[in-house]
């Protein structure tokens, strides 16, 4: 439903994705979805906070399990990808298709590096028999971090489909809206990761 919004707005600096009433509706809907996803993570954080110290009979404790090296790498990769995702939107707002696609691709690569590191961390834990079968702490840890990791993986697939659509259709009200929604999602995952980094890893190392 390509209903243009009021003509007096069209001459101002409204981004392309907001010039169509129906596309901007979808952005509002996506904000509502992000609110529920935020509450989903909040519940998982609450579970983790309570279970953090419930390490079962024989451990491991958070301090024994976590290796800050890879976690720092993951953090840098994801924070940088949030920045490159911002650059993609910046290029998009200046109607530069090539820049948009390139920065999206960089975002995907950084996201993939994040996921790969996380998977290798998990595999390392499993090799040492620290699986989620062993204690409530491990169950809560793998569920919280794994939920975030699967969100990032989903975001990577989403971004790939976006690049294909951008290359096929260029920057339209619809494709820019999709990129903008993806960017919201990606920044959201970044914020969740900052919480995970602080609440799970940093406090786990200190306590």
């Amino acid at each position: 439903m390509n209903v243009p919004i009021e003509p007096e707005l069209q001459n101002t600096q409204v981004p392309l994705e907001f010039t169509d009433q129906h596309e901007s509706l979808k952005i509002l809907g996506f904000w509502a979805f992000l609110a529920t996803d935020f509450l989903l993570f909040s519940s998982l954080f609450a579970v983790y906070a309570v279970y953090q110290s419930r390490v079962g009979m024989s451990g491991p404790t958070p301090a024994q399990l976590f290796h800050l090296g890879p976690v720092l790498f993951e953090t840098v990769a994801l924070l940088t990808s949030s920045f490159t995702c911002g650059l993609a939107v910046y290029e998009m707002r200046h109607h530069r298709l090539k820049g948009t696609v390139i920065w999206l691709a960089v975002t995907i690569l950084l996201g993939a590096a994040f996921v790969a590191t996380e998977i290798s961390e998990f595999l390392g834990d499993i090799a040492l028999h620290d699986t989620w079968h062993h204690s409530a702490f491990l169950s809560a840890f793998f569920t919280l971090v794994g939920t975030h990791g699967s969100h990032v993986s989903f975001g990577i697939i989403w971004a790939i489909t976006l690049i294909i659509q951008l290359l096929g259709r260029g920057l339209t009200t619809i494709t820019t809206r999709k990129v903008y929604m993806f960017a919201l999602y990606w920044h959201f995952l970044d914020i969740i990761w900052v919480f995970i980094f602080t609440v799970v890893y940093l406090s786990g190392k200190i306590i």
């Binding site: 509002l28 809907g29 509450l39 409530a136």
Partner: protein
């Protein structure tokens, strides 16, 4: 092959009653397939219904599903009441009884009330706010099919694999694999999770629809009350369902993947589930009741021919109830050792809700005061609601008093209380809404005389059923007992209660008969405004055309249509043939139905731990998301000529 059969039909599902249910399901399905094939209706069914994204048709499908589930949940209730009618009865065994009260509660909350509410949302809201559709029509269809396939999945648990048996709340550790083997509990977890995703999507959809799709001039404080309560309900859904999602996911991980969330020996805590569940569960109570409050406001105002009394206090009381509902969840486990301080806090926050609720009841009474009150069936349900809900609210306050709760909890007093509010509030409200909007939806009225029979049988049956249960609570009978012996004085109240339940069942039969009768002989609604209504939906023909409004109305007051009638401006719905513009509408799509199917396949795979089936379902979901994302061709234009023709046939063209 034989091991597969053993998995699908373990010994506990091959009792006589299940076998007869099996036969019944097979025969019914065969009959439906025969009729559809015989009359070449498959294509029609697929094109007009299964792939539709029209909110009105989706609303009708929700309504049919809700009434079917009311039947299924009602049969469960009658089986239980039949079992408890006399002492020392062994018509149902204890395990079987557990399964029946579990499916009764789960179905009535998740697969009857919720779709019934969504039916009302879909049938009424876009019309009331002067919109052509909801904000996200395809998402709306996806919500429906997630619900429909989840409900189907939950229902087949009765005959394939085994039924859940841990109550509608399904607390661990009873739901842990060690204490509850078999697939029954998996059915519960997956079915509610899938329909929950659909509910969240519906919440998002109607939140945006109501905030952004209102006709010009309809400010927030000019919205009909039902739209207000639906807005608040949508917000509640967004905030209430995520904790449930997590609670169910944790149980599923424990059962299927061996985690330790609730295994005490490894540091897990069942109380975690209880907290998360009720963090969802108490707001859910208001998700169920607030739409009914909205419906009563519409019905009472229309049939009193008066503006709703105290509109702005109504709005604020609804918002207050919403906020307070998050501070009450602990009252569901006062007796589990939280300590007096915590209990008193949650006791007081619970009782505070009585204040805004009381305000609303006075507002309805003052709306009728001095009005010209008519009592068609829709209004009867609204009138019946007031005394019923007052009793239910009073007993709720008794339960909310911490000290009292130590006596009442898990007794029949509690059972009587929540049936009192859920039937007397939610169900009466939904039935009022159904009778009220029925002519708008289908173009004919439900027969009033039969409706009165239904009303009186159900209403009187309701009191006869639940008043003895309050008494049984005081006499010490606890919930979930499958039988009892003589000598406690429980026999007579139980028998009376069962008689009442069968009266309600008889009322339901009259209602179903009345649908069939009215379809053939009922009064057709030719005016579009059979009740002399107040809000915009009554300015449309019944049933409305696919695009609802050929021209979007401009609203200048609350009760917009009533004001237009008062100022003799009803001709604004008449169109000049030359002014008609083409309208863009969303196109039908097979993706929503297939999405439901993919979730169903994945869900069944998880229930039976057939991992390749589960993966197949998950891949299907991802593939459909991608296909949907590449589909840019999701709208089509209705030509001006088609609209002119439609409007002319409805008698809505000038000159």
């Amino acid at each position: 092959m034989s091991s597969l059969l053993a998995q699908l039909f373990p010994p506990e599902t091959t009792r006589g009653m299940e076998l007869s249910a099996d036969v019944l399901i097979v025969l019914t399905s065969a009959a439906i397939i025969y009729v559809l094939t015989r009359y070449h209706k498959w294509g029609h069914l697929w094109r007009e219904w299964l792939t539709t994204v029209d909110h009105k048709k989706i609303g009708i499908m929700y309504l049919i599903a809700a009434i079917t589930m009311l039947f299924r949940g009602g049969v469960d209730a009658l089986l239980m009441r039949g079992q408890l009618a006399v002492p020392n009865n062994h018509f149902l065994g204890p395990l079987h009884y557990d399964e029946i009260f579990t499916t009764h509660g789960t179905i009535m909350i998740f697969f009857m009330s919720m779709p019934f509410i969504f039916a009302m949302f879909n049938l009424a809201i876009p019309l009331m706010i002067g919109a052509r559709d909801v904000a996200f029509p395809r998402l709306n269809a996806i919500s429906f099919w997630l619900f429909a396939f989840a409900a189907f999945m939950f229902n087949i648990s009765f005959v394939v694999g085994g039924s859940p048996n841990a109550g509608w709340t399904s607390y661990p550790p009873l739901t842990e694999l060690a204490f509850n083997p078999g697939v029954g509990q998996n059915y519960y977890l997956l079915a509610i999770q899938i329909s929950g995703i659909g509910s969240i999507a519906t919440g998002v959809n109607f939140l945006v629809t109501i905030l952004k799709m209102r006709a010009p001039g309809m400010t927030l404080m000019r919205m009909p009350m039902f739209v207000w309560t639906s807005l608040v309900t949508s917000a509640l859904i967004l905030f209430a369902f995520p904790p449930l999602t997590v609670a169910l996911a944790m149980t599923m991980l424990d059962r299927l993947f061996g985690t330790d969330f609730f295994t005490i020996t490894h540091g897990g805590m069942p109380m975690m589930y209880v907290n998360l569940f009720w963090l969802f569960g108490h707001p859910e109570v208001y998700i169920l009741i607030l739409p009914s409050f909205g419906i009563f406001s519409e019905v009472v105002a229309t049939f009193s021919r008066k503006r709703l009394f105290g509109y702005s206090t109504m709005v604020w009381s609804v918002i207050t109830i919403t906020l307070l509902s998050y501070g009450t969840w602990v009252h569901h486990f006062f007796t589990m050792g939280a300590g007096p301080g915590v209990n008193v806090f949650f006791g007081i926050s619970t009782m505070l809700i009585a204040i805004p609720t009381g305000i609303k009841i006075f507002n309805w009474i003052f709306t009728m005061w001095g009005g010209r009150v008519r009592t068609p069936v829709a209004m009867l349900w609204a009138l019946a609601f007031i005394p019923t809900f007052v009793v239910g609210g009073a007993t709720g306050v008794m339960l909310g008093a911490v000290v009292g709760d130590y006596q009442f909890h898990n007794s029949y007093f509690l059972i009587a209380h929540f049936h009192n509010v859920l039937i007397g509030g939610t169900v009466f409200g939904l039935l009022a809404g159904m009778y009220y909007w029925w002519p708008k939806t289908f173009g004919f009225k439900l027969d009033e005389r039969q409706g009165r029979w239904f009303f009186w049988l159900f209403f009187i049956g309701f009191w006869i059923t639940f008043m003895p249960q309050y008494a049984l609570g005081f006499m010490g009978m606890t919930r979930r007992m499958y039988t009892y012996t003589t000598g406690y004085g429980w026999s007579l109240p139980n028998l009376v209660s069962t008689i009442g339940a069968f009266m309600m069942g008889a009322g339901f039969v009259v209602f179903v008969y009345s649908i069939v009768y009215s379809y053939k002989h009922g009064e057709r609604d030719l005016t579009g405004d059979p009740w002399d209504g107040r809000t915009l939906e009554w300015s449309l023909p019944s049933p409305p055309p696919a695009y609802n409004f050929a021209r979007i109305p401009v609203v200048s007051d609350r009760d917009a249509w009533w004001e237009m009638k008062q100022h003799n401006q009803t001709n604004v719905v008449q169109l000049n043939p030359n002014d008609i513009q083409p309208i863009e509408m969303p196109k039908s799509s097979s993706i929503p139905f297939l999405m439901g199917l993919a979730f169903f396949v994945g869900g069944i795979g998880m229930v039976f731990e057939w991992w390749w089936v589960a993966i197949l379902g998950a891949l299907g979901v991802v593939a459909l998301l991608i296909i949907g994302s590449f589909d840019y061709n999701d709208h089509e234009e209705i030509h001006a000529e088609t609209i002119r023709h439609t409007e002319a046939s409805l008698g809505r063209l000038q000159g």
